[in-house]
Symmetry: C2
Subunit: 318 residues, 2 copies
């Protein structure tokens, strides 16, 4: 006798390779079956049969290839059902693969790309507006403020920066309106970026509270994006986390024996901004250690220890 | 006696190097003085003195260095006036350097950069929305349409593409709102780009009607942007115009003896899109010839011959 199971159910074949008994799975049971298989355990439905036929000595669980091909022929009756169930399971798995950390990565990447666009367009606005008020351009270093000031208008800007006998050209009202429109677009992107940053902080605090507390929501999300997923990050040693984002410098170091990088994106962390140059490497290592811990606690749904980890770090680099 | 002039006016010195007579310029006259000097002509005020003192044999126009240093000391009285006049003239020249073709270049560049930003952000939107409706993504190739369809909403899209048992994950209302907001921003950039394209066509038709007619306003403006100014473009041979935008391929050809490029940005022109592959080089050359002509007519404010040039081109490649 053979006991055979797949996503459709459990089948018992007799010596003549005819189906003697069978249990068909519901869609839900098919999913559970796959999950149990992944764990290397025996599905409960199979266990029932094993119990029932335990007196039979030659009940075989792993049919050899020749028997398997016969079994597959016998199961041709279930072909359509097999196809449908398979499609259902694949779709379900795809759906379930969209985890919260992947959504975080999309939000974080969208913030980075909004930032890139804002910079690109603000550079253009600076050059364009430089024709109108060249005196003001280098006094307004802040990109996010620049478009706002342009929107406020020429007269206001000229007054604020005391430009009396300027070298700018007074453009036509139509030209000025086009510049203002352009600044409006940049400003809207800026506001979109800010709103995405708020949203990112919210979902970061929900999905990975410890990572967020230790690394900050922006840096934490960047690390996630480079690692690809929370799961990937959990499996990384702290030294890898320390260098995430410094891949280029690392490979250059490996090829040309140039200086090895001390930190990747974690350099943006307030702690690393604060410490002196010679302490940066040490601080980066400590920070990466704590991040590595925080990520593991987040992944395995542990308690909130972010504040404790952060306090330890703060104490070390006072 | 010495006749000496600068932006302040014309000075006549006697043998003892004392100012004997002088005419001071108004600001307007200073500007005219510079323009006349550029042409290599003699300013009218200087001519008056030359006429007046023509009986004097040793009236010298170009004092040697030792005399010049004495003259400069004598003119120290005019130091402040000289500084102010110089500043005024420089500012005026800077102001006058902002010509219509430079404004066109800003508008054209802003369109290119809006396009780049739209592409970058739409790529992100596609990936993000791929979690929700993976079935739709590759059926909506058009980037500008994509954000609009996302804004129209999930239900509408699902109905239009007959997605019944999809593999997308139904995200929370909050997640969906963030995606829609992001799509809204892209859509606004798209509208800004379209409005800038309309404005570009308008100022192109006004500033360089012949170039616009022959090359089209988008391609024409790109050529202008690469050349740097209408003046630069006027001084280019047609063969250079033909290759504007293909600099990389050209230098690669010069260094590695790879195939020489046949055309730069003019490849976008409808004419070049229409002709067969083997005719592309020939068509590019003809088009560049006509563009070269059109640009010269525009720069020297000639009559409108764009329609004639275009008709000749059309006739050649029917």
């Amino acid at each position: 006798m053979y006991l055979y199971s797949n996503i459709l159910g459990v089948f018992v074949f007799n010596q003549n390779l005819q189906i003697r008994e069978k249990v068909l799975f519901s869609e839900q049971e098919s999913r559970e079956y796959l999950k149990i298989l992944e764990k290397g355990e025996i599905p409960s439905q199979e266990k029932i049969f094993l119990e029932k036929f335990k007196s039979i000595k030659n009940l075989r669980l792993e049919p050899d290839d020749s028997v398997l091909s016969v079994i597959n022929t016998l199961l041709m009756d279930f072909k359509d059902m097999f196809y449908e169930r398979n499609l259902y399971l694949t779709k379900t798995q795809i759906r379930e693969s969209v985890t919260d950390d992947l959504l975080i990565i999309q939000v974080s990447s969208s913030i980075m790309e909004l930032g890139k666009s804002i910079n690109l367009l603000t550079k253009r606005l600076r050059e364009w507006y430089g024709y109108v008020l060249p005196e003001v351009e280098d006094k307004l270093q802040d990109n996010s403020a620049f478009s706002e000031r342009v929107i406020e208008g020429y007269d206001r800007l000229r007054a604020d920066f005391a430009v009396i006998n300027g070298m700018g050209k007074k453009l036509s009202a139509e030209d000025m309106a086009e510049i203002k429109d352009f600044a409006d677009s940049i400003n809207l992107l800026q506001r979109q970026k800010e709103s995405k940053e708020l949203f990112l902080e919210k979902i970061m605090r929900k999905t990975c509270p410890n990572l967020t507390e230790v690394a900050g929501h922006l840096t934490g999300a960047k690390l996630l994006a480079i690692a690809g997923s929370l799961r990937n990050m959990v499996m990384m040693p702290a030294s890898t986390i320390q260098l995430l984002g410094a891949e280029k410098a690392l490979f250059r170091h490996m090829v040309t024996k140039s200086k090895s990088p001390k930190h990747g994106v974690i350099v943006e962390h307030p702690l690393l901004q604060r410490v002196s140059r010679q302490d940066k490497g040490k601080a980066a290592r400590s920070l990466a250690d704590k991040i590595s811990l925080a990520v593991k606690v987040d992944y395995f749904k542990g308690n909130f220890i972010g504040d404790k980890l952060k306090a330890e770090l703060e104490a070390k680099f006072r």
